[in-house]
Every structure is written in structure tokens, then in C-alpha cells.
Amino acid sequence: MTHTESLLAAEEAEVADTQASAPPSHIHGQTIRAATGIYAGLVFVLIPLAHLAVPESHGLHASDYLVTLLGKILCYAAVAVALDLVWGYTGILSLGHGVFFALGGYAFGMYLMRGIGLDGSYHSHLPDFMVFLDWKELPWYWLGTGHILWAVFLVVAVPGLLALVFGYFAFRSRIKGVYFSIITQAMTVAFMLLFFRNETGFGGNNGFTDFKRILGCSITAPGTRIVLFALSGALLLGTLYLARRLTASKFGRILTAIRDAESRLMFIGYNPLYYKLFIWTLSAVICAVAGALYVPQVGIINPGEMSPSNSIEMVVWVAVGGRGTLIGPVVGAFLVNLAKSWFTVSFPEYWLFFLGAVFVIVTLLLPHGVVGLFKKIKTLTKGGAS
């Protein structure tokens, strides 16, 4: 902690480094418009058509598995972009975003549990696990969760409030760097333990599952699935749009300045607290919304989602894709999660080796992720041509 000079030197080097390889801020509007068009065509037209209109026997039919998997990864990608806003742009490494994701999921899960109605195994108005615990009425915090609007409000408000309070205390006392990361991880563990208890009222280690319907539509119907899928796609698109507007603004410049030289920023007269707090809370809320869309698609939420390893896996999506860029986290989320589905089916025992190696290799050799690698190759080939 006191080897100031070397650290500062390293910091300087990194500042220079990030500046050198920072994406040119004038990516052609044309390219972005084209990419957005292709994305929208895929997510809102082609895949829904392939799932709903193409018969199952046909080779172009998008199966339930594929749509669910892609929908899931779209949610993850939105999480990755949100995490990139705090880590890649502001330099705050959170190991607790899994909590915001899971809290959003639980908040919406409460609505889905109420939606089961009398169709549960015990045919009670109460969710099955409460009947099992011999509870006679809903706890107060379940009030109103039968209404989707209140549930959506909770999805945003609970994780948002948590992030706001936690962030305020942490940033106010200027906890940063690894200290902040460790504290967020401790928070994650605390929440996981809390939700593992049956008495907390969220189903203990089984969590919520066995959902039946949303707004009266069966949750397993192809139409519902496609709507959820498209909403996830829209969430990612919206997150990207918002992130681009933010990072291109003066506000975004200040975030980058916090990352690169917080003390200097303070000397100039800025108070980083509210900038950090805003981006941190925003990021948490995006995560929570992604979690709320994730739960009805996979059909289950349990405290395992809050385990520290989940949160840190989210970080690796960003690292693999390339932090400090907007497309990087999306690429990373897709790469890692597709690899995960492939590995866990084909060689389950090697998945952890692979994931561990990804952590090491990316941090050692690819500090700017896959996107950075592409840029390097591009400049190299250009350099070779000239």
C-alpha cells in the first residue's frame, strides 16, 4: 500500500495505455446504425418468426431451448454492459452485481409465485413453501405483489435503494479499489446466507419455481416465450443506447477521469461521490431489470444466484469482451455463456479449468479483451500493409 511510486507509475502507464487504445469516439454513425438494424431484425423479427411460424420439423425452426438460451444470454449481456459502466468506465470493480440481479429476479418472482394461485401442490392461496412452513398468511413484504405494476416497481426500487444506501456509505468514506471489491463480495455472501434461510420468506434454498402464468398467459406458451425474449433484446438495446449517450457526454468524461486519476479530479474541484453514486445505482437497476426478465425465462430463482462466484463470473464476461468499450461486454457475455453451455454438456469436468484459464489468460495477455485483440490485429495488418 505504501509503494506509492511504483503504483503511481503503473497507474500512469495504464492511463497512457487506455488512452492509446481507447476506442475512437467517432465510430461511424453509419456502422452503428447498420449494426442496430441487423440486431433488431434478428431479435424482433427473424428469431420470433423462426420460433412461431416455422414448423418444428423444419430445419430453420428455433427450438425452445435455443430461444431460452439466447434470451438468457441477452439478459446477461445487459448485465455485462451495466457492469462495464462501473468497472470499465469508472474503475469500480463490483463483485456484488449478482445480488442486484437476483433481487430483481426475486421481486418479479414474487409476482410469478402469486400468479400460481390455487394451482400449487397444496391448492392454497399461499405459495407452496409457506404452506410447507405452516404459515397462515403472507408476510407484510408480500403485500401487493399480486399486481404486476407493484412487482415491477419493487424490481426497480429494492435493488436501487440497496445500491444507493450501500454506495453512499462506501463512496462517502472513499472505499475504493480492492477494498470496495471485497466489501461488495461480503455483501453478496451476507445476502446469500439471508436468502438461504427459510424464515426470510423467500423459499429458502429451493427459492421460487414452478411458475404458471404471467398476466394470465401460460408461461410455457411459445408466444409468452417470444415476448420475454424480445423484451430482453429490447433491454439490451436500451442499455446500450443509454450507455452510449452517457459515456459520450461530459458526465462520461468525468467517470473516465474518476477511473484514471480520482485525486486529480478532486483537486480540480469535482466531488466524485455523486457521479459514482449515480452510475453505481443505475448499473444496479439495469441488473435488477435483467434479473426480472431472466427469471420467467429460466423458470427458477434460488439463492445460488447470489453466490460470490456468480457475481465474479459476470466480471469475467466484461473482461473477456473488453472493458471500457460498449460492444465488448456484449461479445464477452455471448462468448463465455455459449462456451459454458457447450462445456457443461460435453465436458462438465473441464468447465472450471476452462473458466479459470479464461480468468488468468484474459488478465495476463488480453487486458483489453477480445475487442482489444481485434483492434491490435487491425492496426498490425494496417502497419504491415503500409
Binding site: 506509492t4 503503473a10 471485497i182 472450471l352 488468468v360 495476463l364
Partner: protein, 540 residues
């Protein structure tokens, strides 16, 4: 219940009067033999009582044989059958030829428990002090009313003061049901000197209500019992508190063993090592491997395996640590957040590697015989040896650590690099080598921590993950770069979390501790024992 106990008491008192000194040499009467061979359990129990009362010397072999189901009757004699050989149960002579048609005596559960009780009581007259002690301790926990006569007889003969105390407890417990209220009052008062949970339960039972009446009818006895109960509760509370402090200290010393290494690596290199818990795991698996080698190669020295496991655990973890430092971590200096991710990746690889090598199940690491059992300090406070050893051990490690850091050249370099890396480099300290050695040292200490941990908890591939967050809390709380903070933080966290556990349950306790740490670093962001001087931003 009271009535039954009371009738036994009468019976026992009557028996006491009839015993004579000249037991030995007499043959077992045919009446007893017949009853023992019969089917009536009540009669059998009565026969056993008579046997014990009239001739305790012969009763011991007979009852032992009965408990083993090897007692038979042949030619009107009690015979112990062991395979084909037969021994006379009373005289101990071998019978040759063995009787033709021995009739085995059947023992049902009721009779069996009666036999066990009598055997225990008979041991009161054993020549072996330990046997007498065990028997007296059993009786003081679960005194059977009919043993009163035996206990009083033993009391008159017993010289050992400890055993006498136990016997008095047993006697007083039985006398709580006596018919004479003055005896009951005396017994209730005397029991205040025996603050054990079982005595407490017995006394509290007297004050319960059965319908409108108290279990104990006499108000004077009630008062005496209530007073004894209060005194016992006070003494028990002391024991409970001390017990919690002790388990807290032992948890704290485990945390200390983990956190010491973390504090060094973070202090020297500014590296948060998420794989640190895995060094614990490596140490524990080293203990398992050493134990297996000792089992197969040197079974006679099995209890000494732990001594060999300590250096093995240290070396295994230190070597792994130094290899990782040389190949991965060294390239990440000055980038603490990336190091955090890379070491997390390393921990995943290490966990999966151990899973592949040793299997995903927990492995069994046994306590050596000299570490099992414990020291009874108070009746309700038994300190297990393995935890005492761990506390002593971590003190020893702490002392060794202090000596290395303060008395050796390496320690001097480590402190120099911690304080000012660039300047140390300028005056000729090979900072790279110091990094490797310090990292190896930190990992090695976690390794011996793992050996210690294998003695008190499960050994499995992901055991390290359970301790890593707690030890980070220790580092955050204590501040980095020096030992004093880590010591106070580890012991404090250990004791506080054990107390909270007793009060609110394990999960809530853990949450409260985390909340406490978060609140604490609001006030002291650099930990309890921040290094004085210009504070420096710790990177990124």
C-alpha cells in the same frame, strides 16, 4: 415416577440391612440359578438384585457373561460358553469335558439395561481407580434409586476424594426422592455444589407443577431446591460464557492463521489473493496424503503423522504459491483489480485439480489419539484437546512469524519493500526475490493453517472458500502490512461471531459481523492499525 423411585428406595434400604461381610466362597444358590434360567423378567431382575447384594464377587463374572450372551446353565451350574470351551462362572475353572447340553440364558432389553446398571455399580469396588471413577461418574449422571445401598457401601470404603464427590452427588440425587423431607432438603442444598446440566434438570423438575400440585410437596424442600437452582444457574452461566470465549478464540486463531498470510502478501505486494483459501485446502490435503502414507507404511507411528504433515503442508502450499507468483501474479503487479480476477481464476483451477485428483467428496482426516477428548474445566465446560492444540499452535506460528519479520534478513527486506518498494530496490534489495519468498511464506502459513483446519472441520475441495471471506474481513478490519492488527481483528471477529451465534443463530451472526465490518470501515477506512504517515492511495 416418585412413587416408583420411592419403593425402590425402600427396597434398597431393606437390602442394606441384610448384607453380610462373608460373601466370597459361597456357591450361587440353586434358587437364583433357576430364576435366571426362567422366562419371567421381573423375577430375573429380582434375582440379579439378590446376586449383587449377596455376593458381589461372583456377580461380576456372571453378569459380564450374561451381558455378552455367553452365560448358560449346564448340570445345575452357571457356565460361560466361549466357542467349545466352557468355564464355571463362579469358580472360574475350565470344565473338561465341556457339558453336553448347555441351556443358554436369554436376556431381553429390560434385563440387559438392569445388568449394565449393576455392572457399572459393581465397578465401584474395582481395584482400578479409573474403573471406579468411570462408574462413579456414570452414577452421578444417571443414578438409579436401587443403587443407593451400593453407593453408601462404596462411600464407606472409598478413599479417593474425587470419587467420593461423585458418589455424594449420586447419593444426593437419589435422596431427593427420599420420604423424609429433612433428607430431601439436605440433598437439595448439597446439590448446589454440583453445577451440571443434569443436576439442574433434576432440581428444576422438582419445581414443576403437576396439575395444581408441585412435583415436590414440601415448601421447605422447594425453597432449598430453588435456591440451589439459582446458584447452579449462576455457575452454569459462567461456564457457558467461558465456553463461548474459548470457541471464539479457537475460531479466531484459525482466522489468524489464514489472515496472516493474506496480510503479508497484501502488505508487500498490494496483491489481494483470492486463491489464498485454496492454499488452506492444499495444506489440508497434504495432511490427508501424509496420513495415508503413514497408514500404509508406518502404521505403528500413525499418531505422529501430524508432525510430518506440518512441514508437508507448509512446503506443498509454499511451492504452489511460489510457482503461481513466478508464472502469473508477478506480471500483474500494480494492477490489483486484475490480480483479484486472475487469482480467482487460479483458485477455480486449483479446486478443480484437487477434485480431479482426490474426488469431489470430502476426505477423512482423523485426529490422532492424543488429540481426542478434552479437559473438563467446569462441569459444563469441556475444552477439546484439538482446539486447545490449535490455539497453542497459532500462537507458536505467530511467534515464528514475528521472529522472521523482525529478526531475520528476509524479514528486514520484507518490511523494507512493504514500506517503500522503489527505495528498497535502489539500495540493493532484490525486490523480485523478496516478492516470491514473501508470497511463498504467506502461502506456506496458510498451508499449515490448512493442516490445523483438517483437525476440526471437513476436508473437501471447496473448503477454502468458506474461510476466504472471513479472512478478508480480518485484513480489512485489522489493516494491512503488520501483524498486530491481524491478531486483534482475528481474535475479535472470532469471539464476537461466536457470541452472536449463541444469541441470534449462525446466519444472522455472520450477517451482523459483515454489517459491522462495513460500518467500521466508515470510521477507519485503513483498518484498526493503520500505518502512520502519509496515506497513500492503494491503486486503481
Amino acid at each position: 415416577m416418585i412413587k416408583r423411585m420411592f419403593s425402590f428406595f425402600l427396597l434398597a434400604a431393606a437390602l442394606l440391612g441384610t448384607t453380610g461381610p462373608a460373601w466370597s466362597g459361597r456357591a450361587v444358590s440353586p434358587g437364583i440359578i433357576e430364576t435366571l434360567a426362567g422366562e419371567d423378567s421381573d423375577a430375573k431382575i429380582e434375582a440379579i438384585n439378590r446376586l449383587v447384594r449377596d455376593m458381589p464377587d461372583q456377580a461380576l463374572p456372571v453378569l459380564t457373561a450374561m451381558a455378552d450372551d455367553s452365560l448358560s446353565i449346564a448340570d445345575g451350574r452357571l457356565v460361560i460358553m466361549d466357542g467349545d470351551t466352557a468355564t464355571d462362572a463362579v469358580s472360574g475353572e475350565t470344565l473338561d469335558p465341556a457339558p453336553d447340553n448347555p441351556e443358554a440364558i436369554t436376556v431381553n432389553n429390560r434385563v440387559r439395561s438392569k445388568i449394565a446398571e449393576c455392572l457399572s455399580a459393581l465397578n465401584l469396588f474395582s481395584k482400578d481407580r479409573d474403573a471406579r471413577m468411570t462408574s462413579a461418574a456414570d452414577l452421578s449422571e444417571n443414578p438409579a434409586p436401587e443403587s443407593l445401598s451400593i453407593i453408601e457401601k462404596a462411600l464407606s470404603a472409598e478413599k479417593d476424594s474425587e470419587i467420593t464427590v461423585k458418589l455424594h452427588v449420586a447419593r444426593n440425587k437419589i435422596l431427593l426422592a427420599a420420604s423424609d423431607p429433612t433428607l430431601r432438603i439436605k440433598a437439595a442444598r448439597a446439590l448446589a455444589d454440583n453445577p451440571t446440566p443434569s443436576t439442574r434438570q433434576l432440581l428444576a423438575g422438582l419445581l414443576l407443577k403437576n396439575g395444581d400440585d408441585f412435583m415436590e410437596p414440601d415448601p421447605d424442600v422447594q425453597a432449598a431446591a430453588a435456591e440451589s437452582l439459582r446458584s447452579i444457574d449462576r455457575q452454569l452461566a459462567v461456564g457457558d460464557t467461558l465456553g463461548q470465549i474459548f470457541t471464539g478464540l479457537s475460531l479466531g486463531s484459525l482466522l489468524l492463521l489464514t489472515a496472516m498470510g493474506l496480510a503479508i502478501t497484501y502488505g508487500v505486494m498490494g496483491v489481494i489473493n483470492m486463491a489464498h483459501g485454496e492454499f488452506l485446502m492444499i495444506g489440508a490435503y497434504a495432511a490427508f496424503a501424509v496420513q495415508s502414507v503413514f497408514r500404509s507404511r508406518f502404521p505403528e507411528y500413525q499418531d505422529a503423522y501430524l508432525l510430518a504433515a506440518l512441514p508437508a503442508g507448509f512446503l506443498a502450499a509454499a511451492l504452489t504459491g511460489m510457482i503461481l507468483e513466478r508464472t502469473v501474479i508477478r506480471f500483474l503487479y500494480g494492477r490489483p483489480l486484475e490480480t483479484l480476477l486472475a487469482t480467482w481464476g487460479l483458485s477455480l483451477i486449483l479446486i478443480q485439480a484437487v477434485r480431479t485428483l482426490f474426488g469431489a467428496q470430502n476426505v477423512e482426516v482423523a485426529n490422532p489419539a492424543w488429540m481426542s477428548g478434552g479437559v473438563a474445566v467446569l462441569p459444563n465446560l469441556i475444552l477439546p484437546w484439538n482446539r486447545i492444540v490449535i490455539i497453542g499452535f497459532s500462537i507458536a506460528v505467530l511467534a515464528a512469524m514475528w521472529a522472521i519479520l523482525n529478526l531475520t534478513r528476509l524479514g528486514l527486506f520484507v518490511r523494507a519493500v512493504t514500506q517503500n518498494r522503489a527505495m528498497s530496490g535502489c539500495v540493493g534489495v532484490l525486490t523480485g526475490r523478496v516478492d516470491t519468498l514473501a508470497f511463498g511464506l504467506g502461502a506456506g502459513i496458510a498451508g499449515i493453517g490448512g493442516v490445523a483446519l483438517s483437525q476440526v472441520s471437513n476436508v473437501g475441495p471447496d473448503m477454502g472458500q468458506n474461510y476466504i471471506i472471513d479472512s478478508f474481513m480480518v485484513v480489512v478490519l485489522g489493516g494491512v502490512g503488520q501483524l498486530a492488527g491481524a491478531v486483534w481483528a482475528a481474535l475479535g471477529l472470532g469471539v464476537v461471531s461466536k457470541f452472536l451465534e449463541g444469541w441470534a443463530g449462525a446466519v444472522i451472526a455472520k450477517i451482523l459481523v459483515l454489517v459491522f465490518v462495513i460500518v467500521f470501515i466508515q470510521k477507519r477506512p485503513q483498518g484498526m492499525f493503520a500505518l502512520k504517515g502519509r496515506t497513500v492511495e492503494s491503486g486503481s
